[in-house]
Each structure stands twice: as C-alpha cells, then as structure tokens.
Amino acid sequence: MKIKAKIKGDIVDVKVMAQHEMMTYDVAEKKTGDKNNANFITHINAVVNGKVVFDMSTSQFLSKNPIFKFKFKGAKAGDELVMTWVDLKGNTKVSKSKIK
C-alpha cells in the first residue's frame, strides 16, 4: 500500500492506495468462466497507537487499486499509522507509515 499521512493542526489527512485487482463476480465469470474466482478487499482499517482510526467493510464495487482518503484526530507527527486489508480469499496486507 502507498500511504501518505500528513498532520495539519490536530487533524491527520491520509491518502492510501491499495494495490488490488478488485475483481467482481461478473468479471470473474466473464474472464475465467467461474465467478468463484472473484476476489476483492473485504475489510480495511488503520490503527494508530493501538486505536482504530479508520475502519471500512468493503465490497467488489470499489475501483481497481482503490484509493481511500480519510481524516482523523488524536495523533501527532511521528506516530505510526498501520494499515491492514483482508481480501475475499483471506490474503492480508499490512503497511506502515509515519505521520508527517
């Protein structure tokens, strides 16, 4: 994941791009003949200092390589933002970035 986390005042502004095909059931059926080949991120969250600051349950209808933008408070520059996603097949990806 590509993460940009910047703090301005007391609000942290985050932009994340998750590399993922986000294949829908329709596309999986069309391309592979089996809709069970569909795979997409089903859950993504962000944790700072052990607290969840962003949390989303997702579906196949996010764009390919989805970009998530969100804001939160309660952190400071230098804190580490830990992003985790899980996809339909059970793969997980964890990426970390310092808040600038």
């Binding site: 294949m23 949390d55 989303m56 989805p66 969100f70 408070k73 952190a75 899980v86």
Partner: protein
Amino acid sequence: MQRRKFLSLGALAAVVAFVPANVSAEDYRTTKPETWQAHSVNDAMMKLYGTTTTIEKGIKLVAPDVAANGGAIPVDIKSDIPAKSVAIFQDANPEATVGVYTMSEDAIIDYSIKIKMKKSGTITVVVEGTDGKFYSAKKTLDVALGGCEG
C-alpha cells in the same frame, strides 16, 4: 500468547483463521452478511440497519453529474453528525452495498472513495447517528461507460 499453548490444534487453527476478521472494530461482512447480497438499496438498508426511514439532511455527498468511467467514480462524503457508521449504497450494480465505514472516537466523516457503477444510477449514503436516527443523502448520476465489465 501463553493461553494459546493450552489450546488444541483445532482450536488454534480456528483462532488463526479468526485473526483477519478480528483486526476490525466491526466487520460488517461477518456480522451482517445478508447486507452484501441485497439487490436493492432499501433491502440492503433493511438488512444492515433494520430500517429504511432516514432524515435527508446533514450530509454532504459529492459525485460527478456525469461519470466518463464507471470503473472509478469519485465519491466524497462529509458530515458533522456524531455517528456510529456510514454506509454507501447504489442501485446500478447487481448488489446494492458498496461499503460501510465504522466510526470510532477519533474518526471524522470526511471520506473519499472511488467506486464502480455498471450503469447510470443513484448513490445513497446513510449515516447511523449516535442518537439512533438515520440520516441520508442521494446523488443521481449518468455513467457513460459501465465499470463492472473490467
């Protein structure tokens, strides 16, 4: 970690399998599985929140009037309503639910996300307020090139 040593192998496997779902505050795919299979916005809202009654105010929903590429439609959501969750639905795809944000103490409703829509339709955003009421906003748009064909 100490406790895990006492678990049987089967139970350990179950614990490991549960970890991905456990990273979240609430994984709505696990807790409300039917939400993701619902074909209409009303049905999805009913499955997720148990109601379709909403107050149409308090949310700023921004999406283009015409989306050239249905594969990546930018959707911006802003609100000052103290909320438990925020859900995005649309009526152009086979299933209605796009995603559900779970709000936490430090979260702010100021989200941008790119979504896919197969054809022209209406995006509905519902905010579940901490006051137990539901707030909504809608945006109808034209999609020039459908986004679910990949």
